[in-house]
Amino acid sequence: MKVVSKDLRRLVWGDRQADRVVPPTGFTAHLTVFAAGAMAFLAVFAMALSLASGRLAVRWGDELARSSTIRIVAPLDQRAAQTEAALGILQTTAGVAFARALDDAEQQALLAPWFGADLDLQALPVPRLIEVIEEDSGFDAAGLRLRLAAEVPGAVLDDHTQWRAPLVQAANRLKLLGWLSAALLGVSVAAMITLAANAALAANAQVIAVLRLVGATDRYIAQAFIRRFTLRAFGGALVGSVIAMTALLFLPAASDTGGFLTGLGFQGWHWFLPFTIPLLAACFAFFATGAAAGRALKRLA
């Protein structure tokens, strides 16, 4: 533990003498920082996408599973009576927590996007909707359908499963894809750093040989490279993440007019998650450079 903390301290604060033994490389350094930044930027979006689809799946799964709708399709003069009858049946149905008929104003609001706000519902044979909220145990949909069919001929029970399931599945799939993308970006950062570190080690073969000759340990030599690439990956990824988060901050928020779509972005403590990306990039860089340096040094006498 003591050794690790010493290493970590050396990694962060560095050893001015050790840093200088590897010659500075302007162009490739900038490329490494840029690539790390770009990947972090994409990773933040993949993460936001995953979290948003996760929220969507939970919302659809949760809220819609708890509710059903009964449509009363009946001639205008029988509609009120059939609605009453249906509500009566629902009150005696086990598993129904709450049931109520939507009033005209609510139905109008639902139809407004299609017909405009000035629609006169009385003039149209619009079915009456009854919102049914289930208890956790749920109710027996088939049994309820049979009872409704017997007593309220105009009632149609829609328990939402038909269209809910594929949506929840799609949202879950999207979430999975998002995490997969984030993971792939992480692996790409590691691959990119390995390539850059290998190139740097090859370009500095003479430096390494000289250091070996004058008694430098493998650890000392590797440290100079590891520190460099870890800091580059961390810095680049930090800038990329912050830019991506700023972009997400200025996305339009989820609103009622947006319908059931939730805002792409982070909510609550999720805003801290993108900060793990620079840390992960630094970890990947640390181990990738360490492995590359280890391989390169083993070949030297």
Binding site: A18, R20, L213, V214, G215, A216, A301
Partner: protein, 225 residues
């Protein structure tokens, strides 16, 4: 200090060195000579652990090379100064920083050794070149810088591979005097060279033994030199 016991070394093709037994005693001065390609550099590399013998054993200060870890060899090199014919430096650091490099890689503070460094630079005559970059140095200056770098840790042994290969006679005499001075300070010195006149010149200054590589073996050369 360095002991080779019945050592053989072969490259992919065939044997280069065989049945080599050699003992470098503390304070001794050895020349290693032989035609080009005879294996002088290989023997020297065996002596500082850059190559492992194909058979036989090499011991440093009593420790078996085969049992040493890579870090052990690194620490060992701090007790040996090595000078190559084509000495390499870190080209982006100044001559002074290059000479102090063994100090910084072993974790010592270069600033603390300030006086030693100044003295050493004066001893090899490079004080005025302290801030120059290695590519700006002449062949002789490079060799002297390499020698200074080799001795800054005050090593017990100095191994030099053709240190005078790239310099004129005047400069090789100067390098030889530096090596002789180090030997008089108690350091063990092994110099590989094909330059017999250098060996003859040394004979008047120091009691040197001459080892010759011939037919894959090392023999103690007679007084004919």
């Amino acid at each position: 200090m360095i002991e080779l016991n019945n050592v053989a070394y072969s490259y992919g093709g065939g044997a280069l060195l065989s049945e080599i037994s050699l003992k470098l005693a503390p304070g001794s001065f050895h020349f290693l000579t032989g035609p080009s390609g005879a294996g002088k550099t290989t023997l020297l590399k065996l002596c500082y652990g850059a190559l492992l013998p194909t058979s036989g054993e090499v011991t440093f200060f009593g420790d078996d090379l085969r049992k040493m870890e890579r870090d052990g060899i690194a620490v060992l090199r701090r007790r040996m100064g090595v000078v190559h014919q084509d000495c390499q430096f870190l080209n982006h650091l100044s001559v002074a920083e290059n000479i102090a490099l063994p100090l910084s890689v072993s974790g010592r503070h270069v600033d603390a050794a300030g006086d030693d460094l100044t003295e050493l630079m004066a001893w090899v005559g490079l004080t005025h070149r302290a801030d120059a970059l290695p590519p700006e140095l002449s062949g002789g200056e490079r060799q002297r810088a390499a020698l200074a770098r080799a001795v800054i840790m005050s090593p017990d042994v100095i191994l030099a591979d053709e240190p005078t290969g790239n310099v004129d006679w005047e400069m090789s005499q100067r390098l030889l005097r530096l090596l002789v001075e180090l030997n008089k300070m108690g350091k063990t010195v092994l110099v590989a060279t094909h330059d017999l006149s250098l060996i003859r010149a040394a004979k008047s200054q120091v009691q040197a033994r001459v080892l010759r590589i011939a037919n894959q073996r090392v023999q103690l050369a007679g007084a004919d030199l």
